[in-house]
Symmetry: C2
Subunit: 99 residues, 2 copies
């Protein structure tokens, strides 16, 4: 498995709009086992994304999906910056479901 | 929804044993929507946990479940330290499934 946990900072006041775009595009990504978008409760502009994929190639391929490319283009102007991120190897758990 | 993303450092060489304990105890936690345990690919002792719950009370209640209490007791000697963690409000995504 391949995973990523990362932070994204929305342009001021744009977090909800950015969340909406992020959530629209996660509907149908082959090999995606989990993709959860979180609001940071302390930072009103921060978003955390935790992802699990069956493999790294599935994750890479998702970035080429037309719906994901469209979402990235739409989201870009609403993103102020990217924070820390970590690459992981998910070991298991609850809520891992293959598309 | 209530969420948490956090880092745990296993005692040297004990990450796999710790992962096994963590994964045993996530089988049946009411209100748990997602609980994914990740290995950090860069740090051989680090574990990341990303969680989503239907509510904060469900998360708190889980800590009182006999299976979870037993797992915590078993895991404690294998944990060197806790790293950063962030409290979140999950906004949605793929892989959120209620017990």
């Amino acid at each position: 498995m391949y995973g990523m946990i990362g932070k994204m900072i929305a342009a001021t006041g744009k977090r909800d709009a950015l969340l909406e775009i992020l959530l629209e595009s996660v509907g149908d990504m082959p090999g995606c086992l989990s993709y959860v978008v979180h609001k940071d409760v302390k930072d009103p502009d921060a978003i955390w994304i935790s992802e699990a994929w069956d493999s790294e190639p599935s994750h890479k391929a998702s970035l080429q999906l037309p719906a994901v490319r469209a979402a990235i283009a739409k989201a870009k102007p609403l993103i102020a910056s990217f924070g820390d991120y970590v690459i992981t190897e998910p070991a298991g758990g609850h809520g891992l479901s293959k598309k």
